[in-house]
């Protein structure tokens, strides 16, 4: 593999590091949390900029509105909580105050997906991408490792407008270059290939690379594309790759409805219909377990991607 895991790190720590860098670069950056400062790794920012850190208590709805108000006065607010509590719990607040109100609020969404683990289904959203994608004008980012999350956070701060920034809890391989600037709206070709395209986002990008290695051993050439920006989708990159390979797998730590899989399916259906297989949570709630056990049980890992690739190639 051309990528090396430089040591496992959690993507939420990438957010914390990126927030501190963004805060040092621009005094307009402020951070709000609903009693999850530690979980969101906002401690360093809060210590460095106490006057720009806003504790909101366990009151997410108010946090969204307060952030919108701060944004209107010219601040760049990042609001942080668990993915479910900054999306589903406050969907209408985000819709009116952030999306429709077009305020420069960045939604920092941690512990996304089932890899939140032991807390179980109430805390594991597999629907957040769908909710945020549905909002007009919302940018949806889902970086794949620590380094990319640092850069995505910096890019979100520089971007003018609402951004949904999704990341996770567990320690996962850190393998993208530390200094690669994040370009919103650009898909990243991780691995060129000829037989099948694997589109992956977030934690599944590493799994896709591992699957591509396994496939290579079997003489199958897989192209792995990191869709770090889910919206706006880099349709040009999607179509270019699938036109070449003739089939695709979409892997994500999210359910089918409204996720990256459906976003790519609709792009292909309109412009370039080709066989497609999904690796995702289907239409299910999560449950308690270790992240690895859950990814195995829900079929969202390298083995599932490898199987889906073979299946889709057979359908060409």
């Amino acid at each position: 593999m051309k990528y090396t895991d430089t040591g496992k790190k959690d993507t939420r720590s990438g957010f914390g590091a990126g927030l501190l860098i963004a805060g040092k670069a621009d005094s307009r950056v402020v951070a709000l949390t609903a009693d999850l400062k530690g979980s969101l790794k906002m401690d360093a920012f809060a210590a460095e900029f106490p006057e720009r850190f806003v504790q909101c208590g366990i009151a997410e709805a108010n946090m969204v509105g307060a952030a919108a108000g701060l944004a209107i006065t010219g601040k760049i607010p990042f609001i942080g909580s668990f993915a479910e509590f900054v999306t589903g719990r406050v969907y209408d607040q985000i819709r009116q105050e952030v999306a429709y109100g077009n305020t420069n609020v960045k939604i920092a969404s941690s512990h996304a997906g089932i890899t939140l683990g032991e807390d179980g289904a109430t805390h594991q959203t597999m629907e957040d991408i769908a909710l945020m994608r549905a909002l007009p004008g919302m940018v949806v980012l889902n970086p794949c490792d620590y380094n990319q999350t640092v850069q995505a956070t910096i890019a979100a701060a520089k971007y003018e407008g609402p951004v949904y920034l999704r990341f996770g809890r567990p320690s996962v391989p850190n393998f993208t270059p530390a200094d690669e600037p994040f370009v919103i709206g650009k898909a990243i070709v991780m691995n060129e290939g000829a037989d099948v395209t694997v589109f992956a986002t977030g934690h599944t990008v590493w799994e896709a690379l591992v699957a591509a290695d396994k496939l290579q051993e079997q003489g199958i050439s897989a192209e792995v594309i990191d869709i770090a920006t889910i919206k706006p989708l880099d349709a040009e990159a999607v179509l270019k790759s699938v036109s070449k390979t003739g089939c695709a797998v979409v892997a994500e730590e999210h359910n089918l409805a409204g996720g990256l899989g459906e976003a790519i399916a609709s792009t292909l259906a309109q412009c370039c219909p080709k066989p497609l297989e999904y690796v995702n949570g289907a239409d299910r709630f999560g449950q308690s377990g270790t992240p690895a056990a859950l990814m195995e049980a829900y079929g969202i890992n390298a083995a599932a991607i490898e199987a889906a690739a073979k299946k889709v190639i057979a359908r060409k």
Binding site: V54, A59, N62, G65, A66, L70, I72, T73, G74, Q93
Partner: protein, 282 residues
């Protein structure tokens, strides 16, 4: 500074505007608009540090206002137009296709004076608290005003914002409640049993002022008292006792006119009751 007499004249014209707007649009919310007419007239013409000529959405150097009860656009738009934010003639486009005067406040049509979208209830006080905090961080001396409905205050988020504003010592935030005791389905006490708002806001740690919302003497002194809260570290809530549909006999004191529009002969009757003003209709 306008005299109470001048404010009364403006308020009559605003009520005429409200009724003519909703009748022309065949939709809209006259009841609450008429109960908060005197409050917003005093606010924009006497109390707020505001200037339409230099207005920007970020509110720099001025006071800011959020209409949390976003359905009260008829009174909001009329007061903004009469205060010089946009041409009075534009009131005739209310709720029409392509109009800057959307059914509920929108920042997407470029209407001067609007700081934030509202309409989905219970959210404006949070936005206002964010504005007030932003001004504090910037070391800016101006205030933020926010108008809520009493029915709206059944939303839990209002009380989240209430706790937040006290915790962050937002003494530059002045909230107002249009305490007319009515909501769509009937009297507030029969729909939700909201209870004593004064006791509730006091328990929340706010400075609470109760005032008569159709008496400019009472309204203006309530605002003066509220402004004196700067330096106390506490936000202020003014509970304005008002009457839904105030100013027209067949509309006053009933929830029936929350979101319904007078028929042509009723409009004629209502306008006759209000009387004409030198300001003139749009």
């Amino acid at each position: 500074m306008k005299s109470n007499k001048e404010l009364e004249t403006i308020a009559v014209q605003v009520r005429r505007d409200i009724l003519r707007m909703v009748c022309k649009a065949s939709s809209g919310h006259p009841g609450g608009s008429m109960s908060s007419t005197d409050i917003l007239t005093a606010l924009y013409f006497n109390q707020m540090n505001q200037n339409p000529a230099t207005w920007t959405r970020d509110g720099k150097g001025q006071d800011m206002f959020i209409l949390s009860a976003g359905h009260m656009t008829p009174v909001y738009y009329s007061v903004l137009a009469r205060a010089g934010y946009f041409p009075v003639e534009e009131l005739g486009t209310f709720r029409q296709m392509g109009s800057r005067l959307q059914g509920h406040p929108s920042i997407r049509k470029g209407l001067p004076g609007i700081f934030q979208a509202s309409g989905s209830l219970g959210q404006g006080l949070s936005a206002a608290a964010g504005l007030a905090l932003g001004k504090k961080i910037d070391g800016e001396d101006n205030r933020v005003y926010c108008l809520c409905g009493d029915g709206e205050s059944e939303e839990g988020q209002i009380w989240e914002a209430g706790m937040f504003a006290v915790f962050h010592k937002l003494d530059n935030l002045i909230a107002m409640t249009d305490w007319n005791g009515k909501q769509i389905d009937g009297p507030v006490e029969l729909v939700a049993g909201e209870g004593d708002l004064a006791a509730k806001w006091e328990a929340w740690g706010w400075r609470v002022i109760v005032a008569e919302g159709h008496d400019f003497e009472s309204i203006n002194s309530a605002f003066e008292l509220a402004k004196a809260g700067k330096g106390t570290g506490k936000p202020t809530m003014i509970l304005f006792k008002t009457e839904m549909g105030h100013g027209v006999d067949f509309m006053a004191g009933t929830h029936k006119w929350h979101g319904s529009v007078p028929k042509p002969e009723q409009l004629e009757d209502a306008l006759k009751q209000l009387g004409e003003t030198p300001l003139g209709d749009f």
